[in-house]
């Protein structure tokens, strides 16, 4: 599987992640499905609903925000294809907490922010047995393919 990212999307993610540091930033990836691959066309930042202390190591998106995001995606002819979040001062590798809360099918894009600067991105997908994440290849999407 490949996660294709629209031009400029990573720049938005970097800005958002660095602004939120040392707290975790999170949100949704809106886009389309291309066979086994996903195209992330829009970044939809969503407030982290954990309290200020927990936000340094956890994020949560309120279910009512999900209802609104689903409606927004549907109105634009898109799907929610994945989730992004930052790992402040940690590598972009899923934690046990990420595994516990992971949904199947979604792509999880994790961005590592070290000392306030984004240093790496990696993407993952939960396997069907819910036992582990498989890494997903990241790729840029040519400008002409973005609506």
């Amino acid at each position: 599987m490949i996660l294709h990212l629209a031009p400029g999307l990573l720049d938005q993610l970097i800005e958002h992640g660095q602004q939120a540091y040392p707290q975790e930033a999170a949100g949704l990836l809106l886009g389309s499905i291309d066979g086994e691959d996903r195209r992330a066309l829009q970044l939809l930042p969503v407030p982290n609903s954990f309290d200020e202390v927990q936000r340094t190591h956890r994020y949560q998106i309120d279910p009512r925000q999900m209802i609104e995001a689903e409606a927004q995606a549907e109105a634009e002819g898109l799907d929610i294809v994945g989730v992004f979040h930052t790992h402040p001062d940690h590598p972009p590798v899923p934690s046990a907490f990420d595994l516990e809360w992971a949904l199947p099918w979604f792509v999880y894009l994790i961005t590592s922010v070290e000392g306030g600067q984004v240093v790496d991105h990696r993407a993952w997908r939960l396997d069907d047995e819910r036992g582990a994440f498989d890494e997903v290849q990241l790729s840029g999407l040519p400008t002409q393919e973005v609506p």
């Binding site: 999170a26 998106i61 999900m66 979040h85 402040p88 949904l103 199947p104 099918w105």
Partner: protein, 92 residues
């Protein structure tokens, strides 16, 4: 007949369906019918002990069933039961 709205990440385990009609009197019966029809959903909705996974939220129309009667919440024929995932994660 009431219906269940399945969120995008669970649709591949529900025959690709977004809205699934059910004949059920309560939320609990509707979920049971759903997992009997689509057994692949079981592991993603329930843990090994048979409890709903922490990310599973259930709304009848616009009301969270936690504020109603949970699994015993009655379903009328024109009600929609929506499965809404909570999204969470983090470094620890």
């Amino acid at each position: 007949m009431s219906s269940i709205r399945v969120p995008t990440p669970l649709r591949p385990y529900a025959g690709g369906n977004k809205d699934i009609p059910v004949e059920a009197d309560t939320v609990g019966q509707a979920l049971q019918q759903l997992t009997e029809t689509y057994p692949a959903l079981q592991a993603h909705l329930y843990d090994d002990a048979g409890n709903l996974r922490p990310y599973v939220n259930l709304f009848v129309n616009d009301e969270d069933v936690r504020h109603l009667q949970g699994g015993d919440t009655p379903l009328a024929s024109d009600d929609r039961l929506t499965i809404v995932p909570s999204i969470a994660g983090g470094t620890a």
